[in-house]
Symmetry: C2
Subunit: 141 residues, 2 copies
DNA sequence: CAATTACTTTAGAATTATTCTAATGTAACT
DNA sequence: AGTTACATTAGAATAATTCTAAAGTAATTG
């Protein structure tokens, strides 16, 4: 017999949320489960919402947007900018860079941590570097 | 006395358009003038439209969007992805990278051509690298 | 160089992604 | 258990961008 949702929820998700200072609500727990269950993922709000609905999780698109942004704020997710039309979120928050498949609008982590940026100039006066993003855009040949 | 608009139009704009295979229409000529008159610029469709209207150029926002995309297609402009909410276009199409001021959503070229990406991995099977974008995100400190 | 044709521009409607709002629900604290 | 502060929600609102179909203009033709 299937346990109730709450009991099903991965305890690590709850812990994760607590540590991040976010109240572990049903939807946050279940979304966190989805997000962090199978390794690194790149997804949009629409994608995650569809997936959640498919698995029978009752959650509105608005909440998915809220949750993604909250998770991003507390460092559980990272937002990746590659496409003018949609926002991607990445479950891998460790410093790493991306391949972007222009044809199908798909993202992939660049394997290994070999890639590096050389000679990054000093940040202009009064500013500091908050992040260096590298996107290697790929096209079919 | 002021010459008529057509005669005012920078001849190089017309040439530029012809070479790119774009019919040099009034709006394209005038927008090209604005875009390429003073060096490197980073602008959005809204920005350019406002500027054009300010200078008395009659052009619709739709045409500005069309024109920016056409110019981008033929390599006269380059689209820069840094902000989920707006699309920036860059009049500098030579390989170079950007500073992005997170607070005010402003873009600037990284001076010099020192910056480089090391150890870019091979493009996955069946693909080739079309471009490598680097964005150094800055925050006030 | 006037007529024809093909490509452009335009206003406004439509679409898409995202955010807002105000009512309802729920976790956490007393 | 009751209260309070924070979350969720549906749907409306907004913002950026694209579409559409009619009107305009550059280029080509005879």
């Amino acid at each position: 017999m299937r346990k109730k949702t709450r009991e099903n929820t991965n305890e690590s998700a709850v812990t994760r949320l607590r540590q991040a200072g976010l109240r572990p609500t049903r939807q946050r727990n279940e979304l966190a489960d989805l997000l962090f269950r199978d390794g690194n993922r790149h997804l949009t709000a629409e994608t995650l919402h569809a997936e959640a609905v498919n698995r029978g999780i009752r959650v509105s698109l608005a909440t998915v947007y809220n949750t993604l942004h909250q998770f991003t704020h507390v460092g559980l997710l990272r937002q990746v900018m590659v496409d003018a039309t949609r926002s991607y979120f990445d479950t891998n928050t460790v410093e790493h860079q991306h391949f972007y498949y222009e044809e199908d609008g798909t993202l992939a982590d660049i394997p290994g941590s070999d890639i590096g940026v050389a000679n990054v100039p000093d940040a202009p006066n009064g500013t500091k570097v908050s992040r260096v993003d590298v996107v290697v855009r790929l096209r079919r040949n």
